[in-house]
Each structure stands twice: as structure tokens, then as C-alpha cells.
């Protein structure tokens, strides 16, 4: 079985043999890598490679080793699209999104206002803390998408600065 991965922005191809516990002779981008694999409980695995022991813990789309989290993505090799579009440039309009669920406490700007980079736009309260969301760039407020006391979800657009 072959798994195509994106680990921290780098594409890797890993070939795994049929048996994936005990001594596993794998290949990473064609390089042979023999590991002694032991699943301790779901999501917690001990890997021994040339004597070196790695306790690996699965955390969503990341694996934690030695206290460091390495994000990864499984890629579908049949898909030719690759990653989604390169994303909005810094020049175009930028949406300021809620980084977590919460409630809108104060709105510090209105549509049409000129704002500087780092200027406060909206204050959200979540888990009893008020957090001020700042403008990612200098520009003009194109839109304020929320009102005071609105409940917002993670990722909801709050303000657009253009």
C-alpha cells in the first residue's frame, strides 16, 4: 500500500508492506526505512528505527513526536488538482474571520472607515475573555458582517478590509 502525504509542505510518498505491526520494511520516497512498529492504543504508537525510539501520538491531522507536532495531509494521488488555489493575495480584500466561537461585544469600525494595519476592528468574547480582532492590513472597511451581541462560529466572516 502506498500513501501520498504532504508533511509540513513537503510531498512524500510512503510505501507500506501488508503487515504493519512488528518489523515493517517501508520505503519513504524510495529510501528503505525499517521500523519496529507497535500500536500501544489507538493513536499512540512506538516506532523503533535503528535503536532510536519514537513515541508517536496522532492528533487530528498531525503527529506529535518529542513534544513537536508535525501537521500532515493525506493526498489523493488520483486527483490532479493538488492543493486548493494559492489563496487570496495580500493586495486584494481580506476577510477577518472569527478564530473561535463567541459573542460580538463591540464593533470598533463601520463600513467605509479607513483603518491602519493592526487597528482593532471587532471585540469578541469567548470563554469569559474579550479578544480584539485587528486589521490584517491598512485599507478601507468594505463590510461589517456582524452586529453587537451576535453569536459567531469559528471561521465566520466578521469584517472585510479592502
Amino acid at each position: 500500500m502506498t500513501v501520498w502525504l504532504d508533511v509540513g509542505g513537503k510531498k512524500v510518498r510512503v510505501s507500506l508492506p501488508g503487515s504493519r505491526e512488528g518489523v515493517v520494511a517501508a520505503e519513504v520516497d524510495g529510501r528503505a526505512l525499517t521500523a519496529d512498529v507497535r500500536m500501544l492504543r489507538p493513536g499512540v504508537m512506538s516506532l523503533v528505527v535503528e535503536g532510536r525510539q519514537y513515541r508517536c501520538v496522532l492528533d487530528g491531522d498531525g503527529v506529535v513526536i518529542d513534544g513537536r507536532r508535525f501537521g500532515f495531509e493525506v493526498e489523493d494521488p488520483r486527483s490532479l488538482q493538488g492543493r486548493r488555489g494559492a489563496g487570496a493575495g495580500t493586495d486584494g480584500p481580506r476577510a477577518v474571520k472569527a478564530p473561535m466561537p463567541g459573542r460580538v461585544v463591540r464593533i470598533l469600525v463601520k463600513a467605509g472607515d479607513e483603518v491602519g494595519q493592526g487597528q482593532g476592528l471587532v471585540v469578541i468574547e469567548a470563554m469569559k475573555m474579550q479578544n480584539e480582532l485587528k486589521s490584517p492590513k491598512a485599507g478601507r472597511v468594505a463590510k461589517v458582517a456582524v452586529a453587537v451581541d451576535d453569536t459567531v462560529g469559528s471561521g465566520d466572516v466578521l469584517v472585510v478590509v479592502e
Partner: protein
């Protein structure tokens, strides 16, 4: 004993009650039916909806549950109703023992402004500033002009950094006043704020007190809580690296004098700022058990909750001042569900993986578990990880070892931040003050980390990915509900 709180402190009090043979009554909001304090209690009652104002702050409901369950004592933990004198009074009226000071002492010492008056009366040094609450922004500007900038705005009723703002000039003051007042109103039900002179590079050092009903009062050494972010304590330790026997005695005696002057009973903490010349200034008094009480327990060998309960039963203190000896060093890290990479925004949600540290000298006061969804309605503290060792250096290294073992998956936490602080040369040399952490964060230096071979990471990721399907089943089962899963499967079979 009814425990009018949630999370780790509710669990901690429940455990102490069990050890003393007291039956325990837990209360919970709708967000907390699955919280870990509930299954540890003998009885459990629903309070109300998730928001604290409709549940854990509803003293009337709590007293009604106490009556219904035949409970004759209430432990308020910290936060919520713990410093609410009206609730303490309502308990007394209902014939229920409130585990804490009498309402009268709470009124004098719990309000920051009144406590400052009491401190003045007790001849205790304090930071220059307004003794009473400020009527409005104009008064704030006037008072600030009198004592000189920089100044600090503070909530009269509060603690934990809420309703606090540092102000460096008159232009910022009106906005800061509004923000602090509104946050105070929201957090403590009172928008009263006052201001005082900002001491440069102060250390935050506090004295733990325990007083009985018979005029006995001891101080249990100090805690240093200088590592703060936005006025929230992040790391606490005992003893302080800069407090010697003589300073400890002076601070302890002053704190005890203040408590006795107000007829204080039970556990309390007097907070001080200490400047580079070892001058100490009264800051405020917390009329309750504090989050960071475990570090004091570890270095004194005592159990503060047991002591609280015995004092509340009317017993005199079983220990005299001269018997209290500090031994070793304890450090506490407050592990929060927050994202240090994203301005420390709270990060509530499902804990999909939990690998907890253990071993000698590690204590964890914690009430989360794998499969628990951290609600967004309350403080995002997940755990208090505490390391004890013979010396400060060993305690730091022990904590680093424990942090290496710790993995919390599914949500963001500040575990990496602690690793960085504990490896920082200034922290290790105890060159800290209340601005230390903000400066460290501003530096933004990356933490030196152990090298992990890229190929090994890729292999681990591939092995985990290859098992994603069964993994998904486990996660679902662990998390939502097995009934739901079983139902869905049956549905699929049709």
C-alpha cells in the same frame, strides 16, 4: 457538602470530602453533565443552562438544591460565587455553612477599594492610587494626573486579570476605562474600577493565610506568580526565589495582621507587589481558596482543603506558625485551551487524544478526559500541572520532563509555551517580573527542539493514515455516544 463549582476545583474538593467521610453533592450546568466532577460525587443535580449567570452564579438555585438534598455546608471553590458576600450571607440565613470567611470580612477585604482602606488602617504599605472606585473617566484622568503615569486600572470586585488595563498616558485612559469597566461588569456583576501607580518590573508575590474562628491565624509561606500574560497568572511557584526568611516573616506577619483586623476566617491570600529593593506593596486580598494553592500544599506538606473544612467545623488550627516549614520547590503550570500561535485565542472543543504525564513529583489537578468536549462557556483552563522537587532547578527539569510526556489532541493548548519559558535562561535564573512573559513573547525566538528525522515523521503519518477508518470508528464511539453509533449502524444495515 455541596460543591458550588465545576471542573478541577470541584473534583479536588470532592476528593477531600471523601477523604474526610463527608457525602458530596455536585451541581452541573447543561454543558457539564459529562464533566468529571459529576461522576465523582455521591449526588448530582442540574442547575440550569450553560451560561454561568444561569447556573453556577445562581445562588438561589444552589441553596434550593442544598435544602432539597439536606446539605448543611457549601464549598464555593474559586471564581463564581466564592467571593460573593451576599451569597455567603444567604447561606448563613439558610442555616448552611459557607466554607469561607464571614460575609462581613468578605465585604471589608474582598472589595479592592475597601481592602485598601483596611490596609491603610493596618499600616500596611501599598501602591499609591485611588482608594475608592472611580465615578467616571473624567475622575480617572484627574486621579491619574495626581499620581503620575503609568497607571493601572483594576476592577474593584474582581481578580484574575479581568477588568485590568495598564495605561501609559491620559489619551488612552477614557477608552481603557470603558473597556475595563465593561469587562468588570460582565465578569463580576459590578463595573466599579479604581486605579493605582504602576510599579516598574514588580514581582507578584502573595502570602497564603489560614485563620480559624478562635483568633488563630497562620501564614503558609509565599507563592511567586510573576509569570503573567494580560494580568493572568500563567506559572506559580513556591517558595519565591527572592524571598528569604526575614522578608517572608515580615510579609506573613503583615498579611495576618490585616486578616485579623477584619475578623477573617478560613483560607485567604494577600497579594503583594515586590520591587527590586525588596519593598512590598499591598495589592489586594483574595477571600477564597486560590487556583495555585497546590504549590503551597507541596512545600508545606499540608492540605488546604482539609484545613478549610476543619476550620469551618469550628476546630482550632492544628498547626502553629513555628511548625510550618517550607521544604523543596513546587511549580505549577496552568494549562489552557488556547492557541499561542494565534494571539492566545481560546480553543474550546473536543479532546480527541489525551496522554497525561505522571511519575514521581508530578501532581495534576485536572478534570478533563479523552472524549470530553471543553465547553466555550467557562474559563478555558484544562489542568494544573504541578512539579515538586528538592530544588527549583530540579522542579523545572521535572516539569519539562512531564510536559514532554503530555499530549492533548484535538484542541490547541499552551503546553509549548511552558516548554519555552522553562528553558529560558531568565526564568531559570528567576529573573522574572510581571512583564517578563510579555517581553519573552515579543522576542518571538523559536524554541530549540530535538531533531526528528523527516522520514520517521512521514512513516508515522503514513502508518496512522493507513488505519484512519478504524480510528474514525473509535473516535466516534469515544466521543458522541455509543447508542448513537449503534443506531446508525443498524440504520445502515436496513
Amino acid at each position: 457538602m455541596l460543591i458550588a463549582n465545576r471542573g478541577e476545583i470541584a473534583l479536588r474538593v470532592i476528593r477531600a470530602c471523601r477523604e474526610m467521610g463527608l457525602a458530596t453533592v455536585a451541581v452541573y450546568s447543561d454543558a457539564d453533565r459529562g464533566a468529571l466532577h459529576v461522576p465523582h460525587a455521591d449526588e448530582a443535580y442540574r442547575l440550569g443552562p450553560a451560561p454561568a449567570a444561569e447556573s453556577y452564579l445562581r445562588g438561589d438555585l444552589i441553596l434550593e438544591i442544598a435544602r432539597r438534598s439536606g446539605t448543611d455546608a457549601i464549598h464555593p471553590g474559586y471564581g463564581f460565587l466564592s467571593e460573593n458576600a451576599d451569597f455567603a450571607e444567604a447561606c448563613a440565613v439558610a442555616g448552611v455553612t459557607f466554607i469561607g470567611p464571614p460575609a462581613s470580612a468578605m465585604r471589608v477585604l474582598g472589595s479592592k477599594t475597601k481592602a485598601r482602606q483596611a490596609a491603610d488602617a493596618a499600616g500596611m504599605p501599598r501602591v499609591p492610587g485611588s482608594v475608592t472606585g472611580l465615578a467616571d473617566a473624567e475622575e480617572a484622568v484627574r486621579v491619574a494626573a495626581g499620581i503620575g503615569y503609568p497607571v493601572m486600572l483594576k476592577a474593584a470586585a474582581g481578580g484574575g486579570g479581568k477588568g485590568m488595563r495598564a495605561v501609559f498616558g491620559a489619551a488612552e485612559l477614557p477608552a481603557a476605562f470603558a473597556a475595563a469597566s465593561s469587562e468588570a461588569e460582565r465578569s463580576f456583576g459590578s463595573g466599579e474600577v479604581y486605579l493605582e501607580k504602576l510599579i516598574e518590573r514588580p514581582r507578584h508575590i502573595e502570602i497564603q493565610l489560614m485563620a480559624d474562628e478562635h483568633g488563630g491565624c497562620v501564614y503558609l509561606g509565599e507563592r511567586e506568580c510573576s509569570v503573567q500574560r494580560r494580568h493572568q497568572k500563567v506559572i506559580e511557584e513556591a517558595p519565591s526565589a527572592v524571598v528569604g526568611e526575614e522578608l517572608r516573616r515580615r510579609m506573613g506577619a503583615a498579611a495576618a495582621r490585616l486578616a485579623l483586623s477584619a475578623g477573617y476566617v478560613n483560607a485567604g491570600t494577600v497579594e503583594f507587589l515586590v520591587d527590586a529593593a525588596e519593598n512590598f506593596y499591598f495589592l489586594e486580598m483574595n477571600t477564597r481558596l486560590q487556583v495555585e494553592h497546590p504549590v503551597t500544599e507541596l512545600v508545606t506538606g499540608l492540605d488546604l482543603v482539609h484545613m478549610q473544612l476543619r476550620v469551618a467545623m469550628g476546630e482550632p488550627l492544628a498547626i502553629a506558625q513555628e511548625d510550618i516549614v517550607l521544604r523543596g520547590h513546587a511549580i505549577e503550570c496552568r494549562i489552557y485551551a488556547e492557541d499561542p500561535e494565534n494571539n492566545f485565542f481560546p480553543s474550546p472543543g473536543l479532546i480527541t487524544r489525551l496522554v497525561q504525564p505522571g511519575g514521581p513529583g508530578i501532581r495534576e489537578d485536572c478534570a478533563v478526559y479523552e472524549g470530553w468536549r471543553v465547553p466555550l462557556d467557562y474559563d478555558p483552563m484544562l489542568s494544573k500541572l504541578v512539579a515538586f522537587a528538592p530544588t527549583r532547578e530540579m522542579a523545572i527539569d521535572r516539569m519539562l520532563r512531564a510536559l514532554d510526556e503530555y499530549v492533548i489532541g484535538g484542541i490547541k493548548t499552551n503546553i509549548g509555551l511552558f516548554r519555552r519559558i522553562l528553558m529560558d535562561e531568565d526564568f531559570r535564573s528567576a529573573r522574572i517580573d510581571t512583564g517578563y512573559l510579555e517581553r519573552l513573547l515579543a522576542e518571538g525566538t523559536a524554541l530549540p527542539q530535538k531533531a526528528v528525522l523527516e522520514d520517521v515523521v512521514a512513516l508515522a503519518a503514513a502508518l496512522f493514515s493507513a488505519s484512519t477508518k478504524s480510528e474514525a470508528v473509535v473516535a466516534e464511539v469515544a466521543v458522541e455516544s455509543r447508542w448513537a453509533v449503534a443506531g446508525r449502524r443498524e440504520g445502515l444495515r436496513l
